[in-house]
């Protein structure tokens, strides 16, 4: 066992939407630099975890520590109090997110999409922000489209820009929420290739919610299988995909393979 502390520590969190309990006392940990794949049927709570980490949803109970600090709480005189917006803003600097539907800003060009947040949140001068943006666009293979508008791009290109945009803030943790689910099959590869590059060239912690089982198998250090708000099974990709122990995991993988996904 390594002696380093986990970068994400989730402790007994619960979350309901109306009367539907998505997460019920969930605990999990993520180590620095770890590549984690979260798989499972829709509605199993895996996307909700990413959204909670990005502060897009609030938790109803429990605690989350990110990089040694409470995410939704502040420590004041030994007491844990609900976090102010300013604390959340500080914590968000550590985390970036890429969405299933890209969520690019349609009224801004590719490069302006990437430079906006560094200029506004870090006060970076335009020239420096643009230089970094071009480096990032180069890395995702979109440098030649820097002046294009999002509407002119294919889904795969949009997603690569969205990845560059999230990277521009240099987060320690990146959350990928089904980033290839909305893409035509022939465009999935170009986005996955970018993820491979990130994996090779950075030491970010990456959490990946995905239905690309083949990719999850090759990419992840650890796979978590979710069902009904609980972690049913977790382990190395080979254990989960080749020798799943739980019946529900086996059932899920069987269905996925029947649907034509490679494992």
């Amino acid at each position: 066992m390594s002696a380093t502390a986990p970068i994400i520590k989730i402790d007994g969190i619960s979350k309901s939407f109306g009367s539907f309990k998505v997460l019920d006392g969930l605990s999990m940990q993520v180590m620095p630099r770890e590549k984690l794949a979260l798989i499972g049927p829709s509605g199993s709570g895996k996307t909700t975890i990413l959204r909670i980490l990005m502060t897009l949803e609030r938790i109803d109970g429990g605690h989350i520590q990110v990089d040694g600090e409470q995410l939704y709480h502040m420590e004041r005189n030994g007491q844990l109090l609900p976090a102010y917006e300013r604390h959340l803003a500080k914590m968000r600097q550590k985390i970036g997110m890429v969405f299933q539907l890209f969520n690019l800003f349609p009224h801004k060009s590719v490069i302006d999409n990437v430079t906006l947040a560094p200029m506004l949140t870090k006060g970076m001068p335009r020239a420096a922000a643009e230089k970094r943006a071009m480096d990032l666009l180069e890395m995702v293979g979109m440098a030649d489209k820097a002046k294009a508008m999002p509407a002119q791009l294919s889904g795969g290109q949009k997603q690569r820009v969205a990845i560059a945009r999230a990277l521009a803030l240099q987060p320690k943790i990146m959350l990928f929420d089904e980033v290839t689910s909305a893409l035509d099959p022939e465009l999935v590869e170009e986005v996955l290739n970018v993820l491979w590059r990130l994996c090779a060239e950075t030491d970010m912690t990456m959490l990946l919610v995905t239905h690309e089982m083949g990719f999850a198998h090759d990419f992840a250090d650890r796979v978590l299988f979710f069902d009904r708000g609980k972690i049913v099974e977790e382990g190395k990709p080979d254990e989960i995909f080749r020798h799943p122990k739980q019946e529900r995991t086996q059932g899920f993988l069987k269905k996925i393979i029947a649907a034509g996904h490679r494992v």
Partner: protein, 219 residues
């Protein structure tokens, strides 16, 4: 034979007043629309209540009465306004109340995913509004703003009732002096119509310019 050219000059002077009123009223209306429209979306109850009260009051009462109130009643409270000031105030506040709902509706029409992208990029509430939400919402507002501006142009005719020499007022002057009704009123009808066309055309070309690139076609 009546000296129509002299009377035409009179009517054109009126047109200038009408244009001036329309422009100044529109500026005030635009300011009020954003203040009240954003106020209605505020997190703070007091701001929401204030904005709602303003909108409901100015939509719910007659612009005639508002104008008369500004010109005849405010002086009793020690606020003396020139006819032009009273006209701009009444028109701007009245049309601003309608346009405030346009602002609110347009801002709310921008999808949740844009707000979420702002949070994920750690933009502050106001930064996201200013750089992401409002620029997109403005495009949604524009066509209805065009309607509002035309409404305002037409409503300027009421200021003739407080002796401001706008188009309608001058037409009445010409009618009184010549005894001819058809010529002056046909003339101002055409001028109002041309002014409204100019507004339509201006708003449409602004819309086209701002929408450039959003639909994937780069012009």
């Amino acid at each position: 034979m009546t000296q129509w050219s002299g009377y035409l000059g009179l009517i054109l002077q009126g047109a200038l007043v009408t244009i001036e009123l329309t422009l100044m009223g529109s500026v005030l209306a635009l300011i009020m629309a954003f203040l009240a429209g954003m106020g209605r979306l505020s997190r703070f109850f007091a701001l929401r209540a204030l904005a709602t009260a303003y909108i409901e009051f100015f939509r719910g009462t007659s612009i005639f009465v508002q104008l008369f109130f500004a010109y005849f009643v405010l002086p009793l409270a020690g606020v003396e306004l020139t006819p032009l000031q009273a006209g701009v105030l009444a028109l701007g506040l009245n049309v601003g109340a309608y346009a405030a709902e346009v602002v609110r509706g347009a801002v709310q029409s921008i999808g949740r995913e844009q707000h979420e992208a702002c949070i994920a990029l750690n933009l502050g509430r106001w930064q996201g509004m200013r750089h992401v939400i409002l620029p997109q919402a403005f495009l949604v507002m524009l066509p209805t703003f065009g309607n509002n501006a035309i409404e305002l142009l037409k409503a300027t005719a009421v200021v003739s009732l407080i002796s401001l020499a706008d188009l309608t007022f001058q037409a009445q002057v010409v009618r009184a002096q010549t005894g001819n009704t058809m010529v002056p009123f046909t003339t101002i009808l055409i001028i109002y119509f041309i002014l409204a066309l100019l507004i339509s055309w201006g708003v449409r070309s602004l819309e086209r310019r701002m929408a450039r690139g959003l639909d994937g076609v780069r012009v």
